[in-house]
């Protein structure tokens, strides 16, 4: 009797230990095998969260699945491209992701780190519609959509959109400004824009920009707006802020034009998303099908209508009211070039500079 109980106890102990061990290292083992074909299986997609995910799902993923009912898209959302990169680095030896849509500054890093695969017209025919300037020089993932940094403003305070970034320094709005500090791309972009406004070459140094930004800092309500930079303006916590044009346009509509977004005359910085095939992806055939669809005129137009990102393909026809609101890609906009190679080396430094010199408590 005693012995039996003891035996059972040992069995239970061993079993629970086994379960723990299994659950502890079972993480990535499911990836292997199952490959699938070009028209069936799964695609594990990693991309932005929030409203981006909602709109992309409605405008691109759902129509795709209607077209290819045998392919299932699993959307893993991340709050930033850096988080996506971090996730992909973690799975490097055993990839679980097939496709990543992320900021080009980050995808360039991924390309260099050998996380991604090259893309060709043979497997992705729609690549033919992507103009040369939106393709990667080494044939890695092409641009999927474009946007740019804008100035977000409260329409009650500004019946006319402010035409200069200098409004951020206007004492009249002190305490009512939100600026996303680096490593956010918004803050990095503002650093470059300010530097350029000061007549400085930010690739050499940003001292003048830092001096100017220090003057602005005391008037900044928050360097990490929550829930996000658009809601802060919509709820009246602030009246001015950095933002992206695409989301800005979207929230402008959502808020009944309580908020607007504009490109000031001193220029702005593109925010470009690339679509990338993960190297050794578990479902690479279906993934290529999806990338091809994502570059189709149909998908590009639908997403532009949904979230005001500029298409990266030449054959996407946008209605006039949408065309006016997406970022121009024809050279008509004053662009402050922020080179991805440069950014990758400057990101840490600029972030540090902001923390130590600009942001004051």
């Amino acid at each position: 009797m005693r012995a039996t109980i003891k035996g059972k106890m040992a069995a239970v102990a061993a079993l629970s230990a086994a379960v723990l061990v299994l659950s502890g290292c079972g993480g990535g083992s499911e990836a292997a095998g199952s490959g699938g074909s070009a028209t069936s299986g799964e695609v594990n997609l990693i991309a932005y969260s929030g409203v981006w995910q909602d709109q992309y799902t409605a405008a691109v993923i759902e129509p795709f699945q209607a077209k290819y009912p045998d392919i299932k898209i699993n959307y893993a959302s991340k709050r930033s491209s850096a988080e996506m990169l971090s996730a992909l680095q973690g799975q490097k030896n055993n990839p679980a992701t097939d496709v990543a849509i992320m900021d080009n500054s980050v995808s360039t890093t991924g390309n260099k780190q050998g996380l991604f695969e090259k893309v060709d017209e043979e497997s992705v025919p729609n690549l033919a519609n992507v103009p040369e300037k939106f393709r990667d020089k080494e044939a890695y993932g092409p641009v999927a959509m474009l946007d740019a940094v804008g100035l977000v403003y409260d329409t009650a305070t500004f019946p006319e959109a402010p035409d200069s970034w200098k409004v951020l320094w206007d004492p009249a709005y002190a305490g009512k400004i939100n600026v996303n500090a680096p490593p956010s791309l918004l803050g990095l972009s503002l650093t470059a824009i300010t530097s350029k406004m000061e007549g400085e070459d930010y690739t050499q140094g940003i001292d003048s920009a830092v001096t100017r930004l220090k003057e602005m800092a005391p008037g900044v309500q928050t360097f990490a707006p929550n829930p996000d930079e658009y809601q802060n303006v919509i709820t009246g916590q602030t009246v001015l802020g950095l933002g992206q044009n695409a989301r800005g346009q979207f929230y402008s509509d959502q808020s009944n034009k309580k908020m607007g977004v504009t490109f000031p005359k001193e220029g702005t910085v593109y925010q470009i998303n690339t679509i990338n095939l993960v190297k050794d992806a578990p479902h690479s055939e279906a993934a290529k099908t999806f990338v091809d669809y994502a570059l189709s005129a149909e998908a590009q137009t639908a997403f532009a209508k949904a979230l005001f990102y500029a298409p990266s393909v030449t054959n996407a026809e946008l209605p006039a009211d949408v065309k006016d609101r997406v970022v121009p890609t024809d050279g008509s906009l004053n662009i402050v070039p922020l080179d991805v190679e440069f950014l990758s080396s400057a990101r840490d430094k600029w972030t540090d500079t902001w923390k130590r010199q600009i942001i004051t408590n």
């Binding site: 230990a17 723990l20 840490d348």
Partner: protein, 306 residues
């Protein structure tokens, strides 16, 4: 003459046998305890010891830009923050925030905890439940609640403005003030629970005895009630301090990027800059800070005879 030999020892073996039987049973029981402990220990190993060891190992690696981790063994990740005044300031701010939040939280929780600990009402159970009910909502939700209350157009500023008491809104959020207010409220239930369990030596008879010896209500409080509550207050302070300096959500959300503490710094390094080795080193530093505080706490409790 015959010499009577003493009876041989094994003549009465029963006592010895029994002893052996007992020892054998005990040993068997010990094995059973071990078997029962094993799953928990393994769980602890997998969920706590292993990640901790991994983190410590990670902290000796070198972080290159763009999330590249160079496997090596270097102390650079420690030398860098320890020689950089910025990280000293961040550490000091973290410490200061923990102390401020701890003290304020203890002050505002004490009356509630004392009332609950002394209550003999049949509603006591319900009252305790109400006091700790905020734990049912996540700290994120409560932090957002505070953002609404403390914002430029929030409840406080609009009330004060409406009453004509202020012209320009007070800056209650996106700074240390907001973080402190939020953390104090968020950790109150923990403080209250820690206090109630730490007020063991407090008994109404001691207060009555002090009263009967001529102590006024005030004297009873300062000479008897408060000293007897000290262990509970200290435990609550320590708990809130540790929770405060390790929390990231509230400083992040209510700090508006202006509040730089170790936890937000670790978050930025991990998710923003992907410098895991550096983040790991900062985590180890934070852990050491915890250790120091707990050592001081134990000294103190021994001193006040907890």
């Amino acid at each position: 003459m015959t010499v009577l030999e003493a009876p041989a020892a094994p003549e009465r073996p029963s006592a010895q046998d029994e002893g052996q039987l007992e020892r054998a049973t005990e040993r068997r029981n010990r094995r059973t305890y071990l078997a029962l402990l094993l799953p928990g220990l393994l769980g602890l190993l997998v969920s706590f010891v292993f990640p901790l060891a991994y983190m410590v190992r990670m902290s000796f690696n070198q972080g290159a830009p763009d999330g590249v981790i160079v496997e090596t063994f270097t102390l650079d990740t420690y030398i860098q923050p320890l020689t950089d005044p910025y990280y000293w300031r961040v550490t000091l701010d973290t410490f200061q925030m923990g102390v401020t939040v701890g003290i304020l939280c203890v002050i505002v929780s004490y009356p509630v905890a004392l009332f609950l600990a002394r209550s003999t009402s049949k509603w006591r159970g319900l009252l305790v439940a109400i006091a700790i009910a905020p734990l049912l909502t996540s700290a994120v939700v409560r932090t957002y609640g505070w953002m609404v209350i403390l914002g430029t157009n929030g409840l406080i500023n609009s009330s004060l403005g409406g009453l004509g008491l202020i012209d320009t809104p007070l800056k209650l959020t996106n700074n240390m003030t907001g973080v402190t207010i939020g953390l104090v409220e968020i950790f109150m239930p923990y403080a209250i629970l820690a206090m109630i369990s730490g007020f063991g030596r407090l008994s109404p008879q001691l207060e009555e005895a002090a009263g009967s010896l001529g102590a006024s209500k005030f004297k009873v409080f300062t000479r008897v009630t408060l000293p007897l509550c000290l262990p509970g207050l200290l435990t609550a302070f320590l708990l809130v301090f540790v929770l405060s300096i390790s929390t990231f959500i509230t400083p992040r959300l209510l700090g508006g990027g202006s509040v730089q503490v170790l936890a937000t710094e670790i978050y930025d390094q991990t998710t923003g800059l992907l410098n895991w080795p550096f983040a790991a080193a900062l985590s180890v530093i934070l852990l050491v800070l915890f250790g120091l505080i707990i050592a001081v706490y134990q000294r103190l409790t021994k001193k006040i005879g907890g």
